[in-house]
């Protein structure tokens, strides 16, 4: 197997980390083997095109499945309700902050700079909330991060609309929504994994 194929396998292994842990426990090895087999029989470009086409939907499906399975296993529903309530509350606070700060910043810094700064603020805010909620309910770390990011980004885009920039074009909106969605999703998964490692939070299976 040549060097490029070996690198491809390495990159694919990295991408596999975005799948839920429970899924990877069972399928990491056969998926890696299948990818290796695909590289042996096909052109590398064709293999990557196929992977790129299926990866987003496959990731969403597996995470949704993982959340549903987690919900079924939850014994302490009270904790789940508290975690979701706090997530929504923080999301609303984030929405108000993004709207207020965005309005205040845009005339001062300009649209692009304000957006960049808001992105940093949203990430920090998201990280702190995830850290706090993740202390008592690990599955909610992922859920909270995802929810807060979506709500705050929606507020931010709403704020930018009408500014005359690229956000006013339909494809500008579409691009921002896709970026926000993908960014939130990947960011939340990374956050969840990192925080779980740092705080040694038990998986939902153990709760």
């Amino acid at each position: 197997m040549n060097k490029i194929n070996n690198r491809s396998i390495g990159v694919y292994r990295l991408l596999l980390n975005f799948y839920p842990k429970s899924y990877l426990k069972e399928y990491r090895s056969p998926m890696g083997q299948t990818f290796r087999d695909m590289l042996k029989d096909n052109n590398i470009l064709k293999v990557w095109l196929r992977v790129a086409r299926e990866l987003p939907s496959s990731l969403v499906n597996e995470h949704m499945d993982s959340i549903n399975e987690g919900k079924m296993r939850v014994k302490d529903k009270k904790r789940l309700i508290i975690a979701i309530s706090i997530s929504f509350f923080c999301g609303i606070i984030g929405f108000c902050l993004a709207f207020y700060i965005g309005n205040w910043l845009m005339p001062v810094l300009g649209d692009e700079m304000a957006m960049l700064l808001m992105f940093v603020c949203v990430s920090i805010y998201n990280f702190i909330i995830c850290l706090a909620i993740g202390r008592f309910y690990s599955k909610s770390v992922w859920f909270t991060g995802f929810l807060i990011n979506i709500i705050v980004w929606a507020a931010l885009f709403g704020n930018l609309k009408g500014s005359g920039g690229f956000v006013d074009l339909w494809y500008g909106w579409l691009a921002l929504i896709v970026i926000a969605f993908t960014g939130s999703f990947i960011g939340s998964i990374i956050l969840r994994n990192k925080i779980s490692k740092v705080l040694n939070i038990k998986n939902d299976e153990n709760i």
Partner: protein, 121 residues
């Protein structure tokens, strides 16, 4: 293991995975290739879609893992082999029966003459 009764049609991927496994046990990549071959290239799955479907089919009792390997000496132990369960075979037969009925109906209405659908007058 719960056995889900499919009242609606199977998804194309699930259908072709069941078809690929109906004659022999296969590992993931073989299933993927067979499904692509059987569907004339219309079903192009990647590892994520394939194993996602396999996971759900295992949960629904349509397929099961085959622990004995066809040729243990020249096979990679990381590969997992799968085979159809009785329930899976039954679901596949029901699906094929549905297709068969649809084809009979289409023939009765003269829709398979190779000229496409009749024009509306």
């Amino acid at each position: 293991m719960r056995q889900k009764q499919y009242s609606q049609t199977l998804t194309p991927s699930v259908f072709y995975i069941l078809l690929a496994l109906c004659d022999k046990e296969r590992h993931g990549y073989e299933v993927m290739k067979q499904a692509e071959h059987d569907s004339d290239g219309k079903i192009e799955m990647g590892p994520g879609t394939l194993y996602g479907n396999i996971k759900r089919m295992l949960t629904d009792g349509l397929i099961e893992e085959a622990y004995e390997r066809p040729d243990p000496l020249c096979d990679d132990e990381r590969r997992k082999y799968y085979r159809l369960t009785e329930h899976g075979r039954k679901q596949l037969s029901m699906e094929l029966e549905r297709y068969n009925n649809a084809i009979k109906l289409a023939k009765r209405k003269n829709l398979l003459s190779g000229m496409g659908l009749p024009q509306k007058l």
